[in-house]
Symmetry: C2
Subunit: 456 residues, 2 copies
């Protein structure tokens, strides 16, 4: 038995009491969001009807390095946090690698993913401001579930617009949100103008994330005392998710370990932004030099094959524009099963850090390799990972195998964002050899790029 | 923030390295198992063709107080253990109770329940003995999943006979087992004589646990180097599950706490036997006097309304007979959703301790109250419990409310055995007000008692 335990949990008195705001240490900020009507930088007045006041302030805060976590949010965090930092001894043995592999496991809560970290914060600020109704959208359902949990805890009504095809294919996901008291509306619906417009054109529409976002925002803006909440991409989300990296760093410090390589999967950037946090701060301040790898699906390669440009955050073109790596908001990714990574863009902050060379590498991996890694990992480390999370596992295994070949004993840290209990249809396809890889052609990508707004 | 943390994890060097064998401290043992053919006490020779040698020894060991956990099993445990001991501050606040509520949460592993604790041990001993094939049955699927995880880890082939209607209703449960490499055969099947016999009589049979057990045992006994494994009832299972109580006690000791009341749900007795373990040892030795409550469904009330008598452990009447609280092996419980508690009997050791007054109380609760407790708990403590586990929550809440009324600040400890992610159909019924209570009439119970074997 080694001195370093399999699982390390920070003692409660060492848990982070503030969120680390990476932007306070960035030499340059990402370009501002633009108002889609005026194409001028958004103002607080543009944001206030949509988001809570405190969250608007967090969204534009580039100066405070640490932002205190309210006691009420800490009380919520402490029911499911700290998440464990796990030394993957069994995986190391299986791979015969001299590398030391660590992972932070964020799936040990009922939402099954890290999304709860930001849901708790966003709902709390809404409650504090006296908001009496929240709306959001959900695709695969992780975000909707996390938000339903937080909303029921803080006792604030929530309406979730759930992409209709997801609601049909995943009735149990819907049922969990309802068990937590959320109202789940399959989108497009007849409850909003945008929903009715889509249904008028196509009564059989099975919906899209873009449409669900439009419905959720419409209701938030038109209902008194109502606000909209979003689970990724935004800087406020990255701020809350920084707790992942802060906890991981505190635990690694306790063990006397420092990662050579840090790996996260990347869809909208919320978990990659979370695991990097204080380690990225070290790099920006010249105090450490971990090698950061953001892993995305080869079928939706916004960082590896996208453009760094202004684009809408939603397919419906209703949100502010952000400067980010993007495939164009009209790019339609193939229906790979890692639903959480099917996003055309990328967090503006992660994009900027990648563009400026602080995120060292973006890596696109194929779905077949991802599930192969997931199946191996589940058998050896016992945790059945979400397909999204398995992208990070895939890259971590590749790095560990490289170490076996080179004889180097590098320290690898990756973020295991969630569990795959609601992704069994994808695993069934994999088990039956029916999973297909899909890599978009240059022509297909070009169509997406053609949808980019023309902005100098 | 109180001094006692929300979550307590034992440090790795304080994790139990031995299983506590409660029988070594019992003043009287339960009556011996009987060979169903001869009605004489079973011998090692009767057991050896069915179970591994070491497990047979554990099954009859009434003298060793502690049995060392093999290093290989410890390595497996340490990927998902220790499980947290959680102080339910938020629930206490919600209930406005002066009681202190603690729960041991055993659901934080991919199998979603405590079943993994015994699966790991049973598979390890099989591997060590050179067994090359394992068989088992599963109903709801928790045990099958746990065993599939352990079997893939220790690299030993496993065939799971899954009650056909479960396999049809829960394709994802089946898919998880397959992802872990198990072969899942819907039962009754044409792969065994007992299966073929049932299909000949009733080609449309949707199966039963009794039939699945018969198929699994038949294959184990007739395949060279093959063994059968079982997830509850047996003393070997109680032994392995004792790790729950040992960890809980070590953590409570660390906090300077001692429970006044200890609560577990009770189906076959594996988790109740687990959480009681060393605390029951205290009671047997006169070193402590916690009040033990075993909670069962009102629809399947083996302890509260059953007889203490010899009975078969399976509906197929193929297994040895055990002296236990039973409703009669032909009693057919209503299809309540807590599948794991739909068992006609009860662990012989738990039965004996109840009969001799060391388990203070058995309590039957109605399904509607159970789901009401589950819904409240999930919102306040964030964890969505399995319906089985919610029986314990229901009793814990009742005890905490009594404390509010009496002003007593009792310390309550209960075992939260698992998560309800695969029980959403039941939650959907509850959410829609469609859940029904069912309490068997005396006449219905009498029919079950009529099936009891006549033994003096």
């Amino acid at each position: 038995m080694s001195k370093i335990p399999y699982r390390t949990y920070l003692p409660e008195d060492k848990l982070p009491k503030a969120w680390y705001n990476v932007r306070a240490d960035m030499p340059e900020q990402h370009d501002p969001y633009l108002n889609p009507a005026t194409l001028k930088p958004v103002t607080m007045d543009d944001l206030l009807p949509i988001f809570c006041e405190e969250l608007c302030r967090q969204e534009v805060n580039t100066t405070d390095r640490f932002i205190e976590i309210p006691d009420e949010v800490l009380s919520f965090y402490r029911v499911y946090r700290p998440s464990p930092l796990i030394r993957a001894y069994n995986l190391e043995k299986e791979l015969k690698t001299p590398a030391k592999i660590y992972y932070k496991f964020e799936g040990n809560n009922t939402s099954g993913s890290h999304k709860l970290n930001s849901a708790a914060a966003q709902v709390y600020y809404a409650k504090k401001q006296g908001v009496t109704n929240l709306t959001t959208e959900t695709g695969a359902g992780q975000w909707g579930t996390a938000l339903a949990m937080a909303a029921s805890y803080f006792k604030i009504p929530l309406t979730v617009y759930m992409v209709k095809v997801s609601a049909q294919q995943k009735p149990y996901r819907k049922a969990i949100m309802e068990t937590y008291g959320a109202k789940v509306v399959p989108s497009p619906s007849d409850t909003t103008e945008s929903g009715r417009a889509i249904l008028a054109k196509d009564p059989g529409s099975t919906g899209s994330l873009g449409c669900a976002i439009s419905e959720a925002i419409e209701v938030a803006v038109n209902t008194p005392n109502s606000r909209y909440v979003l689970g990724s991409v935004l800087d406020q989300v990255l701020l809350h998710q920084a707790i992942i990296g802060s906890e991981a760093k505190a635990a690694m410090d306790m063990l006397g370990e420092y990662p050579d390589i840090i790996i996260g999967c990347a869809g909208g950037g919320s978990n990659f932004g979370g695991i990097m946090s204080e380690y990225m701060g070290d790099k920006l301040k010249g105090r450490g030099n971990p090698y950061f790898i953001a892993v995305e699906p080869a079928s939706c390669p916004s960082m590896t094959r996208g453009k760094y440009a202004y684009d809408f955050c939603d397919t419906g073109k209703t949100t502010p524009l952000a400067k980010m790596y993007t495939l164009g908001c009209e790019f339609i990714p193939s229906s790979i099963h890692a639903g959480g990574l099917r996003y055309h863009g990328m967090s503006p902050t992660v994009s900027k850090l990648y563009h400026d060379g602080f995120v060292d590498e973006a890596r696109a991996v194929r779905q077949s390799d991802v599930f192969k890694a997931a199946a191996l990992f589940s058998k050896i480390e016992t945790i059945l990972p979400a397909p999204e999370s398995a992208h990070a596992i895939c890259a971590a295994i590749d790095e560990a195998v490289k170490c076996r070949e080179s004889g180097e004993s590098k320290t690898i840290l990756f973020n295991l964002t969630g569990t795959g209990y609601f992704d069994m249809a994808a695993y069934m396809n994999y088990n039956e050899g029916k999973l297909e890889d899909y890599i978009p052609t240059d022509e297909e990508l070009q169509k997406g790029f053609d949808s980019l707004p023309k902005i100098d």
